[in-house]
């Protein structure tokens, strides 16, 4: 009998500390429940379809590896038998044969020892030839098993990573086909987390759960067979521990589940307080809430301590409990096996092998339990990714699209109707005719829906009915790409990517020359500030261009629009946070950009508004007035009030304009 109580058996796989499997360090998130576990799991497995040949190979390798590793203890047992036989043989008195010794023992009434002796082939001293043959064989068997197991893991790593690569790619392409509506209704963090965290989680699940599951299942079967073959009685004893360990795990896990929920609740609470109080640090201090903040924190922190202690303790019991069961099993086999060897029913080597098997038997079973947990969380992640993959896409472009050669910038909106949600009317029967080169100002209070018009023109959203025509062509008859090439956009929310300034401007066109980029920058009044930067056009912008001021970023986007040289412009004037000198440059840049182009401007500046050919006044998502400046002033409506309010000082603000709608929400 070898092997003691805590040393792990020879083929089990202690989970690596890098594994993030449930309970590995006790701080994993509670397994999120999948809504349709089997359906989603099946779909997840279907993603492995392109790799089916390799997976077949993995299965084969796993089978081979388990076969050899299960063989090992048995062979090693025979090696022990050889040693034992030699020892017993040495102990026999000189000249007595084995038969004589057995008879002698029986005559002395030592029947048990006689039986044992009768059942073995004793040798005079250890038969080293036999021992050498067997140990060499075992070494080779273990080596083969290890090589197969390595091959299995190695191939599976490729299978998993390639599958994840494909999944990420599919998700990214899907993002390219989703309508803007999808992105506007989902938080950016949520989408981001589906593509990264969730896919990451799926990858961990696949890599660990699949390989482990295959090996564990095969090992359980192999070991069970060997145990039954060696001794059905001992096998029965070991089998008893299976329901026992299973029950213990389930009981403890059920209890700790609730504690983990508590732990995560309070962890969230504590993190929430920290986040809130740090973000509002000035407020907490100036409003004299420091003591209260600390008291709130201490309370939540205390609760977090209590609940996480309970969670860690209860889940921490699993291991000692399992160890206890396994030790009980060990003792039972040692005793019963010892008696059986002493009576010659089985050999010492067989008991030794058996103890190893019984260890290998319980381990994979506990492992299978933790794999189920891992699978739960992996499948829940997969579901979130599938949800994204299943989201409704944009309508496909027309099969035979119409092209506009060189657009002049004539824009026509005919009876356009649009609603973001079906029961809230938004744009009703909008008609607007814009001649090439004209300027349309869209004005209205914050949140009035000014960007809706932009969304519709660019076909970021589809109109419900009516038509939008560019140079007489219905935009639905064009591809989205062709339509968007007619437009240039300069938004207040400037978008720059990580790269040089040159690259960011060059984004406006396909492969422009350096001279074209320079030209665009000069036209946009951006040339001056760029040349004052240490690296000029080669200056690298960090993520989101945070190392430039808001105004400078906008100048770059104006240059970008210049480069794309569109027939129609959409401009969003800056409202705040731009220093005066840059502001002047931006205005000049925008004015130059507008020359000879049809422009839609989300306007904040009175000068822009007044000079517009058409002013579209929006409020609460609807277009309420439309016309020229003089015309609208004469009408003394909403526009009139809006315009006036920008001049009135607060001194003479009295009840008289309370009739103006408070429309900022």
């Amino acid at each position: 009998m070898s092997k003691n109580s805590t040393s792990q058996s020879m083929t089990e796989r202690p989970s690596s500390p890098f594994a993030r499997g449930p309970g590995s360090l006790g701080m994993t998130l509670p397994a999120e429940k999948a809504r349709d576990f089997t359906g989603s799991l099946r779909r997840l497995l279907r993603m492995l379809h392109p790799e089916r040949l390799l997976i077949g190979l993995v299965m084969f390798l796993a089978l081979a590896s388990v076969f050899f590793s299960v063989l090992g203890p048995f062979l090693l047992g025979t090696a022990t038998n050889v040693v034992f036989a030699g020892v017993v043989g040495q102990d026999l008195p000189e000249g007595t044969t084995q038969q004589q010794a057995v008879d002698e023992l029986r005559a002395q009434g030592e029947t048990t020892q006689a039986d044992m002796l009768a059942n073995m082939t004793v040798t005079d001293g250890v038969d080293f030839n036999a021992l050498a043959r067997i140990t060499a064989l075992v070494a080779v068997v273990y080596l083969i098993s290890a090589v197969f197991s390595w091959g299995q893991n190695y191939i599976m790593a490729g299978v998993t990573q390639r599958t994840m690569h494909r999944l990420r790619e599919r998700v990214d392409h899907k993002l390219g086909r989703l309508p803007l509506k999808y992105f506007d209704s989902k938080s950016r963090g949520d989408v981001l987390s589906r593509v990264t965290n969730d896919i990451d989680n799926i990858s961990t699940t696949m890599q660990q759960a699949l390989t482990q599951a295959i090996t564990s299942l095969l090992t359980v079967f192999g070991v069970l067979l060997m145990m039954l073959w060696i001794s059905p009685l001992l096998a029965l004893i070991s089998l008893l521990t299976v329901p026992l360990s299973f029950l213990t795990t389930v009981l403890i896990a059920k209890r700790s589940q609730g504690q983990f929920v508590g732990q995560w609740h309070w962890t969230g609470e504590v993190n929430g307080i920290v986040e809130e109080m740090y973000t509002g640090h000035e407020l907490v201090k100036v409003y004299g809430h420091r003591q209260r903040a600390m008291a709130d924190f201490d309370e939540a922190n205390g609760k977090m301590y209590e609940s996480s202690f309970r969670a860690q303790f209860i889940s921490g019991i699993i291991q000692p409990a399992m160890m206890l069961i396994s030790n009980l099993n060990y003792v039972a086999i040692a005793v019963v096996g010892g008696v059986r060897v002493a009576t010659g029913a089985i050999s010492l080597g067989e008991v030794q092998a058996f103890i190893q098997y019984s260890r290998q038997f319980t381990m994979p079973i506990t492992q299978l339990a933790s794999i189920t947990n891992l699978l739960q969380s992996g499948v829940a992640s997969a579901e979130r990714v599938f949800e994204l993959l299943d989201a409704a896409e944009e309508d496909p472009d027309p099969v035979r699209p119409l092209h506009i050669g060189r657009p002049t910038g004539d824009v026509e909106l005919e009876n356009v109707n649009f609603r973001y949600s079906p029961d809230v009317p938004l744009i009703e029967d909008l008609n607007l005719s814009v001649q090439p080169g004209e300027t349309v100002a869209i004005v209205g209070p914050t949140g009035a829906g000014k960007t809706t018009v932009v969304n519709l023109l660019m076909r970021f959203y589809e109109i419900d009915s009516g038509r939008i025509l560019i140079d007489g062509v219905d935009t639905h008859e064009m591809t989205r790409d062709d339509l968007r090439r007619c437009f240039g956009m300069v938004l207040q929310d400037t978008w720059l990517f990580k790269g040089t300034i040159e690259e960011n401007i060059a984004y406006g066109a396909e492969d422009p020359t350096a001279a074209q980029v320079d030209e665009a920058a000069v036209a946009a009044c951006a040339d001056h500030f760029i040349s004052t930067l240490p690296d000029g056009y080669d200056a690298v912008l960090d993520d989101d261009g945070a190392n430039l001021s808001a105004g400078e970023r906008q100048l770059i986007t104006i240059a970008r629009a210049f480069l794309s040289d569109p027939a129609i412009l959409i401009l969003d004037e800056a409202t705040s946070s731009v220093d005066t000198r840059t502001e002047v440059l931006i205005q000049e840049g925008m004015a130059r950009l507008r020359q000879g182009r049809t422009s839609f401007i989300i306007a904040h500046r009175l000068s822009t508004i007044r000079d517009a050919d058409t002013i579209v006044v929006m409020d609460a998502g609807q277009i309420i007035e439309q016309g020229g400046h003089e015309e609208l002033m004469a009408a003394r409506g909403f526009y009139y009030d809006l315009y006036q309010s920008q001049f009135r000082s607060s001194y003479d603000q009295t009840a008289d304009n309370s009739q103006a709608v408070d429309s900022s929400y």
């Binding site: 009998m1 070898s2 092997k3 003691n4 805590t6 083929t11 690596s16 500390p17 701080m27 090696a79 022990t80 030699g86 044992m116 250890v126 273990y142 080596l143 290890a146 090589v147 599976m156 990573q161 593509v195 990264t196 504590v270 509002g280 000035e282 409003y287 420091r290 924190f297 301590y305 860690q312 921490g316 000692p320 409990a321 160890m323 206890l324 060990y330 005793v335 010892g338 060897v341 002493a342 030794q352 914050t446 970021f460 968007r484 090439r485 240039g488 990517f497 990580k498 984004y507 105004g551 970008r560 220093d579 000198r581 002047v584 009030d641 309010s645 001049f647 000082s649 607060s650 408070d662």
Partner: protein, 577 residues
């Protein structure tokens, strides 16, 4: 890291001693079981003494049970100690940060402080837990195992001299390659996140410029890189387990082979051979666990370092030893030659600024971005201290007054209109805890927030999410203003607080404020000229210095910077209207 752990585990000394004792007992008992097993074989099986086998079996049973109990008690103390450690570190950090002035907070950055107080503590706490439950058992088991092995047979123990180094080299080689790879995987994940974040943020621009294809190519590159690196890690780890198992298994083969010779020559009994096998496995296993868990250490050490930085920072502003009190009415502010410069910075943010605000006066501060407007607000509220010069309230230097006393004078609306989790009422009452419902409504009315609050189903009790993310920017700003107004403070400071409001609301709000703040000093920082043109006094800041002080009319006449700002927003005629 060691210092942090030592400092914060000090209160748990007794528990630590108990844990070490329990773990030692556990390890020794674990080693005693194979010893008894050897007895069964040597004196029971070989001699056929069934009574002895059962007798020793019962003893083993008892030890196993005791072992289970000891292990559970050890888990109890370990969990208690590790979680208590985490709680204490978190609390110390939170209390430390709460005493920081804005300067220390900004030195670290708010997001960084949040991560340090949450994730970093979690990291270190996890290491402590693992150390208590697993790591300290490893050397004890290993040493115990070696002693037992030596006692059994010195010659056979020599095997350890080969096996342990081989295992250490194998694990060390794999781990040392894996650690940089793990770091690299993280970078690649960040890379893919960055591309994706840019794509989501710029989705309108990308589609407008018809660049979806080229963005897909960028993503593809990031995806390839991530897959490449992840694959390298996964393949490296594919080797780990088979290699370790092979070492374990070959060791047992070696024990039987060499042991067989020793048994034959009578140097060792056959039962001891199996016990020896068990000792070797225990030793190897604890070495393996220790080495693998050690990989947690660098990450936790980095976290501990970040925690220590916070704990070792002392607040830059503290209460005076000999505090003075403010006069009861206190509503005038004098800024005298105030300058502010970040330590180590080349240029001052504010340089020699002087002006005065009297009770009932409306003072506006204008200037471009980076002109020092918000810094000025932070100096007046003493979230920063002046580098030179002085800020006084009713003639008393702000540095001479206890901070809480000083702050009770202010109604502050910071640039970021931040709301707290809770209800609308609780957010307004943040300004004055004992405000009646009537007072709350009045504040909402002045802030032009009453109309939208009434329209909400739950009115004052409507829920507000963290940061106020469930209300619009304009609503958030108005609630933040109501929070300040309800204080009935002698001094009001609005830092660019009207920017999300449309012109109409902005104008009405200012009119209502005028009424309410008749006796208070009001300081308004603004970008919009229409917001401030009727101020009693306008302070024009330009790159940290005062470019002019006066009324709209006088500044239009003699301050070039002011004229520039005005004319960027209004036409000549509008400016003079």
């Amino acid at each position: 890291m060691i210092q942090l752990i030592r400092d914060f585990l000090r209160p748990y000394r007794t528990s630590l001693v108990v844990i070490i004792l329990l773990v030692t007992t556990q390890s020794l008992a674990n080693l005693y079981l194979p010893f008894l097993n050897a007895d069964i074989i040597n004196d029971g099986v070989v001699t056929g003494d069934i009574g002895y086998i059962v007798e020793v079996g019962v003893l083993m049973l008892g030890i196993s049970l005791a072992l289970g109990v000891v292990a559970i008690i050890a888990v109890y103390f370990s969990a208690r100690t590790a979680m208590g450690f985490g709680r204490d570190v978190r609390r110390s950090m939170f209390h430390a940060v709460e005493s920081f002035s804005l300067q220390e907070v900004n030195k670290f950055g708010k997001p960084s402080l949040i991560t340090r107080n949450t994730n970093d503590v979690q990291q270190v706490q996890m290491l402590v837990l693992v150390a208590l439950t697993t790591l300290i058992a490893a050397p004890i088991t290993a040493i115990g195992g070696v002693i037992m092995a030596l006692r059994t047979n010195v010659q056979l123990s020599a095997l350890l001299l080969f096996i342990v180094p081989i295992m250490a080299v194998v694990i060390g080689a794999i781990v040392s390659q894996a650690v940089p790879l793990f770091r690299s995987v993280q970078t690649k994940i960040d890379g893919i996140n960055a591309v994706l974040r840019e794509n989501l943020a710029g989705i309108r621009v990308i589609r407008a410029f018809v660049r979806t294809r080229s963005e897909e190519a960028r993503f593809e590159r990031a995806n390839d890189e991530l897959t490449d690196t992840s694959l390298r890690v996964a393949r490296l780890f594919a080797l780990m387990m088979p290699a370790l198992m092979l070492i374990f298994n070959l060791s047992s083969v070696a024990v039987i082979w060499f042991g067989g010779h020793l048994v034959n020559s009578g140097d060792i009994q056959i039962g001891d051979l199996t016990a020896f096998l068990a000792y070797i496995m225990q030793i190897l296993f604890s070495v393996m666990m220790a080495v693998m868990l050690m990989t947690m250490v660098p990450r936790a050490a980095a976290s501990a370092e970040r925690i220590q930085q916070v704990l070792q920072t002392s607040p830059g502003i503290s209460d005076p030893a000999d505090p003075k009190s403010l006069p009861p009415s206190g509503a005038s502010i004098e800024v005298r030659n105030a300058s502010f410069q970040y330590p180590g910075a080349q240029d001052p943010v504010l340089c020699d600024v002087s002006f005065e605000i009297r009770p009932g006066q409306f003072t506006a501060v204008v200037g471009g971005t980076g002109s020092g407007k918000t810094t000025l607000v932070n100096l007046i509220t003493r979230l920063y201290d002046v580098s030179s010069g002085q800020i006084a309230i009713d003639g008393v230097d702000v540095r001479a007054v206890p901070q809480e006393k000083l702050w009770s004078r202010f109604g502050l609306v910071p640039q970021q209109a931040f709301l707290f989790r809770g209800s609308i009422a609780s957010n307004v009452r943040f300004g004055a805890e004992d405000a009646s419902n009537e007072e709350v409504w009045q504040a909402l009315q002045i802030a032009q927030a009453d109309s939208f609050v009434t329209q909400l189903a739950d009115g004052l009790d409507s829920e507000i999410d963290q940061g106020g993310s469930n209300v619009s920017g304009g609503q958030r700003q108005r609630l933040a203003i109501a929070r300040a107004v309800v204080r009935q403070a002698p001094i009001y400071i609005f830092d660019d607080s009207f920017s999300a409001l449309d012109y109409t609301t902005d104008a009405r709000l200012r009119a209502a404020l005028r009424q309410h703040t008749r006796d208070s000093a009001v300081l308004v920082v603004a970008q919009r000229i229409s917001t401030i043109r009727d101020a009693d006094q306008i302070v024009v800041l330009d790159r940290g210095t005062v470019a002019g002080i006066g009324t709209h009319e006088s500044l239009m006449a003699d301050c070039e910077t002011y004229r520039e700002i005005v004319l960027s927003q209004l036409t000549e005629t509008e400016a003079e209207a």
